[in-house]
Symmetry: C2
């Protein structure tokens, strides 16, 4: 495997991090995971745009233009001969002697490499289980940062309970999953938390809402309560790697008769059509 480190492509075993990298000592950095379909990175521009936004929000300047970064990532995909799977990239503020404050002269450090393909087809057809957990995260969840400790803790809790995801509840309201956005369908209308500081505005979430707009399907980006979640007709999550993933059981309670509901299936199909359409056209470009 080859790894992109700043502007160099290195062998996996050459790609090392300094002990004083601020990513290692403070989680001082931002990241993205981009899904590949037959060698084509889906919504690459959207992910890169969000990466720059996240960096900007933490006062970190990325000293390469987005177009140049995209080019390097495409080189990485080529050199690894990647077909399916994910592209992981993170940018940390760089290496400096340990101090909370930083100098502008520190050079940010990019690391990007391929993640293995994991099929989600079976799970998408059958649905997955989830648990609920308190949302104790910071109040800048809109930044896709490397400070993921609480996300880990609740994902692990879900994992140990045999579940796929932890649905987070803050002040009685469903915010999002530990690594996904959460949607419910009630009376034919889709609900999801608005894109505020309390959630990470998922690229798949945005894409799905665009699809709904296009079809004229009803949705509301409104906060909804845990009670509304538990009384929903259908529940699903979205994420880059899971796409549209039905949730058929929460905290032991079965939803939509234990299988993906009709709205969820409709959204899955519509999303997959867009992927096929965009990846197809991207390949020709």
């Amino acid at each position: 495997m080859k790894v992109l480190v700043n502007d160099e492509i290195l062998d996996r075993n050459q790609a090392k991090v300094d002990i004083e990298d601020r990513g290692y000592q403070f989680g001082d950095g931002v990241y993205e995971v981009i899904n590949l379909y037959n060698g084509v990175p889906f919504t690459l521009k959207e992910h890169i745009s969000r990466l720059y936004r996240s960096a900007n929000e933490i006062g970190m300047k990325i000293y390469v233009e987005p177009e140049q970064l995209c080019k390097r990532l495409l080189d990485l995909i080529n050199v690894n001969n990647m077909k399916d799977g994910g592209l992981y990239l993170q940018i940390t503020r760089g290496v400096s002697h340990r101090a909370h404050q930083y100098e502008d002269s520190i050079k940010p450090r990019l690391v990007a490499y391929p993640l293995p393909y994991k099929s989600v087809q079976t799970a998408q057809s059958a649905g997955v289980e989830a648990i609920t957990a308190d949302d104790l995260r910071w109040l800048r969840c809109d930044i896709k940062s490397l400070n993921l400790l609480y996300n880990i803790m609740v994902k692990q809790k879900a994992h140990e309970a045999g579940a796929f995801e932890a649905i987070l509840i803050r002040d009685g309201v469903v915010t999002e999953g530990s690594s996904s956005n959460i949607f419910i369908v009630k009376g034919g209308i889709l609900f999801t938390h608005p894109a505020t500081n309390k959630i990470l505005n998922g690229i798949t979430r945005t894409k799905l809402l665009e699809i709904l707009d296009k079809h004229g399907w009803q949705y509301k980006t409104e906060p909804f309560t845990k009670e509304a979640l538990m009384e929903a007709d259908e529940v699903f999550l979205t994420s880059t790697t899971s796409e549209v993933m039905p949730i058929t059981n929460i905290d032991g309670v079965t939803f939509s008769h234990g299988k993906p509901g009709p709205y969820t299936q409709k959204f899955q199909d519509a999303f997959r059509n867009v992927v096929n359409s965009e990846v197809g056209s991207a390949k020709k470009a």
Copy 2:
């Protein structure tokens, strides 16, 4: 400089981190900074005890006994011939293919090395400036984790304003500083936030309160508001490296006539006496 990596002492340039270290990708780890006085680590046991507590709270098992870890740290101090300065140590959950959930089989990874001595004497005599900022951190601030992004952001804000520290306010209440605990004196009584999930229970904080207990000096571990802060007779912070540090200006408002107040000076002296006493006896042991 020599660095301790697990049970090995390596040259600084040999101490590298893997790109899939969970510390680097998730901030999945805990840390401590221990102050040395003339080669003796102050409150070493207390710091190590807190390190194990933090690890336990994030479900991470440290596969070495505290006594053994202390011994390795003392070896590191010796091999570096450290006199004054800090000892930094962090333990991450280890290296694994990127996924939020983790297997118990991952081996945690320790890195420890000396931090340079920075004199705080001038600042302790003159007092420092602070700003206030919203406390947007997660609700497990009692864990000394590597998820320090918000702490960085507000410390940087303070730094850019020419101030030493950012005092954090959550729901109108003063919690703590970005890397310190905050105390006020009002009418001869000391106040500081109780050791809940909203603050990191500082070793210096605990030590100071023990000193107050011993002397029979009055204090209350009670939440106090930003208004109470701004109306305080004296304000100071405590931290491992700053010890008892007077704050003489907050958001441009001068406190205790712009110099350390009498209570603050009394606490500084009492703390320094305990350091001298414990470090002296530790050296003889």
